[in-house]
């Protein structure tokens, strides 16, 4: 790294530090200068928020969707059910505190399973990564 770049980096760090300190001082002034009125500011725990929702994005292509093989090794598509059903701000979709998913009928093609999930059950397809993550949060599985 050249000397100039090093100087720029140090200056940038100092600027960031300065902003952080200024912000902290502003907050401290807010609390200290208002002794005549009670002040309370609440910081919500990220873990607590995470417990109350399970947000996922939807997979568009059925070929990218998570599947679970049945006893015969046939693919059953994972159809996650948003809770509540009406989510005007989605995506991401909230699956609620008790996430539920339905497995598609293995005798149908993946495309047909996906269409039935979306059009009939109001569900969404999720990635294999999201499926694994949801399994760790007690994802309930049923049959389409």
């Amino acid at each position: 790294m050249s000397e100039k770049k090093t100087q720029q980096s140090v200056a940038s760090d100092m600027e960031k530090d300065g902003l952080a300190v200024a912000s902290q001082l502003k907050r401290r002034r807010l609390l200290k200068s208002t002794v005549a009125i009670p002040v309370i500011m609440t910081l919500h725990s990220g873990a607590a928020l995470a417990r109350t929702s399970n947000l996922v994005g939807a997979v568009v292509d059925s070929g990218d969707a998570a599947t679970v093989p049945n006893a015969q090794g046939q693919a059953q598509i994972v159809c996650a059910i948003p809770d509540p059903a009406d989510q005007p701000n989605a995506p991401p979709y909230d699956l609620g505190m008790s996430p539920q998913a339905l497995l598609g009928p293995a005798d149908k093609s993946l495309e047909d399973q996906a269409a039935y999930c979306k059009n009939v059950k109001g569900g969404i397809l999720i990635s294999a990564t999201a499926f694994t993550s949801l399994q760790g949060k007690g994802l309930g599985l049923g049959m389409l």
Binding site: K32, V35, P38, I40, L43
Partner: protein, 82 residues
């Protein structure tokens, strides 16, 4: 509860929340923790403690704060004895 030079942090384990309070905010919680009291008496105690005038505006501010504390689950309103 931790004192940061006149600022206070209170962790509420059940809700997973951390509250930042100034001295008066904390004093309200301390007074209510000692014994239930009325809004009027609470304002009187706070006014004495912080050398303030306990007028209508002050009482409104304290009442709003109590509602906020109640919404956060830090205090509970009690019916006066019959």
């Amino acid at each position: 509860m931790v004192d940061w030079d006149g600022e206070f942090t209170v962790f509420q384990p059940a809700a997973g929340k951390t509250h930042f309070l100034n001295e008066m905010g904390l004093h309200i919680l301390i007074l209510l923790d000692r014994a239930p009291t009325t809004l009027e008496h609470l304002c009187q105690l706070l006014a004495e403690r912080f050398s303030l005038l306990s007028d209508e505006s002050f009482m409104q501010q304290i009442q709003q704060t109590l509602h906020r504390f109640e919404a956060l689950g830090l205090v509970a309103s009690a019916n006066p004895p019959q």
